[in-house]
Symmetry: C3
Subunit: 397 residues, 3 copies
């Protein structure tokens, strides 16, 4: 490695005007552009250090809490890998899947798990209006506990997917884009089609498409959000993305034609989700434990989905993109026609051509999470990175 | 930090006449006063070292086994945090909740999990007559395996709550008291009301109140154990506490009036439990898997509890205490009237006033557990603590 | 310790002609004799280093994935202990017990969990024709991901029990034999009775007896495989063992008499299993989720088993062995007559006499697993061992 190269990257982190210490990472649009770039830089530095067999272990002991209120394999592994990379031991907080806790229970539990904790990763995307709210409640409890000198230090909360945003996913996606196109600055003006796609399953969260439009609109991209009528995202997030796109010199267009979105696109992200309106109707049913009502809603929604089976990322669709060679993206697992289902989001031949790209995309997630932890826990993150570099301890003997 | 201060604490550990190496920590009343004080000292030293950013990692590799035969969040996190603080990786032994194993199965499993283990934490408080017995059976299996040179060293067993005692809780409680009142020696003569309180739930174990009276009676305190008639604890533990109180220059009184117990109290610990007689009747029903019988017993018990809804730690009750300002304690989670239940152990305003105190109380538990592990595994614990101090390795970079 | 002794052991590893780097450990018969001996040597060296309080931590961070598609306690602890010994954090991949994944799902999951992983331990022994196939599919996915530069390095896959072989068990068993008889070279010509034995349970996998005959036949042993007619193992493995026995100067005989097998045996390994034919019939029933069919097959099989209750390792049986003092072996837990069941594989007095031997046998497993990981991940394993030795970092302070 060119040491100079790495030192340059660390210097860039040092030069950034950021205010992330003691804060949580919940939504990308709460962070300044410099802060987002600090995450990208730090993630790249950590990956480079590891590649150079330099240990990124900041902590000699300490706990990272993982709280998955929904199933997960890849995010669970990403969080565990990130925590371990920094020297933290992961302890799961298993509250049972459907439990919705409020008030004293949240406050108390947040404190009880945090006496020796440095980070808390939370995935809670099942209930519209709950996931983000819950993460904030945990963060507030931690603030109070630190203020009352109950906790020796403030663990940083990382949103591992909420009802609103999925920042570890979208940030990994964009680091992949930066690598693919040769830098974040190359994204300006690039056309990205964030499109709904057909899936035989139901109730997929809105956080991935929201995360993508919420982040793409920060970098001056030309965003086309495409979905069948009635399949909109949370209206406030669509409006926010439009405002952000304008501010960053980009564009934000909603279309109800997948073809239109794909036309001349540089990047396509075809992915299923449940309409906002359906997600809203689910909440009282979930709270009430109305299984029959949920079943009926699912049937209604699946029947409606079936009208849009042609929303599939086929070879013909790909031909519409710039030079027929747009970069295909997905958060995985994708519903692949003829592979994981009869009819799905993407044709098998398209997916196969970009398979390794989607894997590389996912490979950034552990480093993004590690960077978020480091930046939430270090007042002078560049100094810490420099110290890791200078210590030069071997990661493997 | 004053290094001298810390070195003084370590010197105090060195001066103690203790015999804990190779032993388990199951019941506080099996330990000498010096041994209990060694645990307190060591816990304080470990917390101080961590505060000074000095790594407490004694092991570079090694396993800590956690065996929770009952649900737990806070004790699970305390054990994991303690093990990780010392450098141990926690591996759960999940035997299924209701299984009661004996004989060869216990002996064999205890050995199989211990080849590279340093500590085994066991929580088993469901069955009267089982939890403590099981922990001893594990300990005996380990003794045999070490004697037969099957195991390279003896993991230390830590009681994380049995049917009899809950020493990691009571010891954390008392370190909190020591901090609150300015030293363990200040506890002599202090009035502590360990009182039953109403709860809408049922079957809470006896180990917390037993742990408190079993430990308070070692320090010359004036103990008032209060409960409605018929709600007594294990008779042998009440008798033991009375004997210990006398020996230590304290007092031990049983009363059936919460008011009487609270009168002029310096400390109050209002907490629900199921009567000993009910706990005894549960055992054969649990063994027989007699769900209907258990349900009937629960109904009977809840109906009886409901007669004592006025056993609540209200503001009026608190006014009876010394200067109206007794320290309120609880092992958490408390049943808070109007917050976690309609009517419970404590009024919301009382709990809120002491909330951070109860959190601080809980915050000692990881250090108490770490101290117990260290003292069970180190022949010359003060030398180990001194070595940690002198090594001075940063816990965080 | 004699440093010379340890350095001699390391030199022996250095001198071996092996090709294990970047490879998986799935079946002992895929490995050369030198490679098997390298595993034995490395396991012994790691145990010695730990005994000398020298840390075996090769990694400062890194993940070991455990994937148990069947219940396990001792193998789970062995894998966790081994991973931790080398410095890896264990993250469980919990896919649900009965799931049989193929194709894209396996390929994708294998990659997603491996970005920062060094080792993947898989136990999958439920379905004949599935476990080994699945492990190979994971390995192939990893090869592809490394070739495509999706993964920075190749995690090594360790077979923690498949439908075919159980190499971590058989290798631990043979290290025990080597220690017991004073060296692997002493095994030549030794008579080992790998015998079916009666058990009241059903459906025990074939991998243990297959692993034993597949390994014993490499060392010139005189193998007698004994079972009631119809209780044969996978025919290809029996044939393979016969060929290997001949090649190594040993013998391989099948008999339908436990007595005949025990006659003059130096070692006896009485252990129940389900007949190959029954295991074959289970597969389509399991795939079809045919619970009634499985129940009927179980009843049929148990009824058949019951005809062979006299296949028990009694004191009388033991008297038939060489000097009446053959070494009794078992992978544990054994079905002990009058202890863990009414009638089982072994008489209580026989088991009790050899109990500590079976424990010692099991005690090698963590070191065998650690050795397999190290050899799969290190191009110059002897150099790594020497580096551990020279670094001389204390495992415990």
């Amino acid at each position: 490695m060119q040491n100079k190269d790495l030192e340059g990257m660390i210097a860039r982190v040092a030069s950034r005007n950021i205010n992330m210490y003691g804060k949580d990472f919940l939504l990308t649009w709460e962070k300044s552009l410099e802060e987002l770039e600090a995450v990208f830089d730090t993630a790249m530095i950590l990956r480079r250090l590891r590649q150079e067999n330099i240990s990124c272990r900041i902590w000699d002991s300490g706990i990272a809490v993982s709280n998955f209120r929904d199933n997960s394999t890849r995010t669970r592994f990403s969080f565990a890998s990130a925590a371990d990379l920094l020297g933290l031991y992961v302890q799961d907080l298993d509250e049972g899947k459907s439990q919705v806790a409020h008030g004293e229970t949240v406050r108390e539990t947040a404190t009880m798990i945090s006496f020796l904790a440095e980070a808390i990763g939370i995935r809670d995307d099942m209930y519209l209006g709950e996931g983000d709210r819950y993460q904030r409640e945990v963060g507030q409890a931690l603030d109070e506990a630190v203020a009352a000198q109950v906790l020796p230090s403030r663990p940083t909360v990382i949103n591992l997917q909420s009802d609103i945003d999925h920042p570890t996913q979208s940030m990994a996606d964009f680091l992949h884009l930066a690598e693919y196109f040769g830098g974040l600055d190359k994204l300006k003006g690039k056309k990205i089609a964030m499109s709904w796609a057909y899936s035989p399953s139901y109730g997929k969260p809105l956080s991935v498409p929201q995360g993508i439009i919420g982040l793409a609109s920060r970098f001056g991209m030309d965003i086309r959000l495409a979905y069948p009528e009635g399949y909109n995202l949370i209206p406030e997030i669509e409006a926010l993305s439009a405002r952000q796109a304008e501010a960053s010199g980009g564009r934000f267009t909603i279309t109800h034609s997948m073809q239109e979105a794909f036309k001349d696109a540089d990047i396509v992200y075809p992915k299923s989700w449940a309409p906002y309106e359906v997600m809203q109707r689910r909440v009282p049913l979930l709270h009430a434990g109305d299984t029959a009502g949920l079943k009926a809603l699912e049937q209604e929604c699946l029947a409606n989905n079936a009208k849009f089976k042609d929303w599939e990322c086929t070879e013909d669709m790909m031909k519409l993109t710039r030079g027929g060679r747009a970069l295909y993206m997905h958060c995985l697992p994708a519903d692949i026609t003829g592979v994981s289902c009869k009819a799905g989001e993407v044709a098998a031949s398209v997916f196969e051509r970009y398979r390794n790209d989607t894997y590389r995309e996912a490979g950034w997630k552990p480093y993004i999470i590690a960077a978020m932890i480091l930046l939430g826990k270090r007042d002078a993150p560049a100094r810490t990175l420099q110290a890791l570099f200078e210590r030069g301890r071997s990661r493997e003997l």
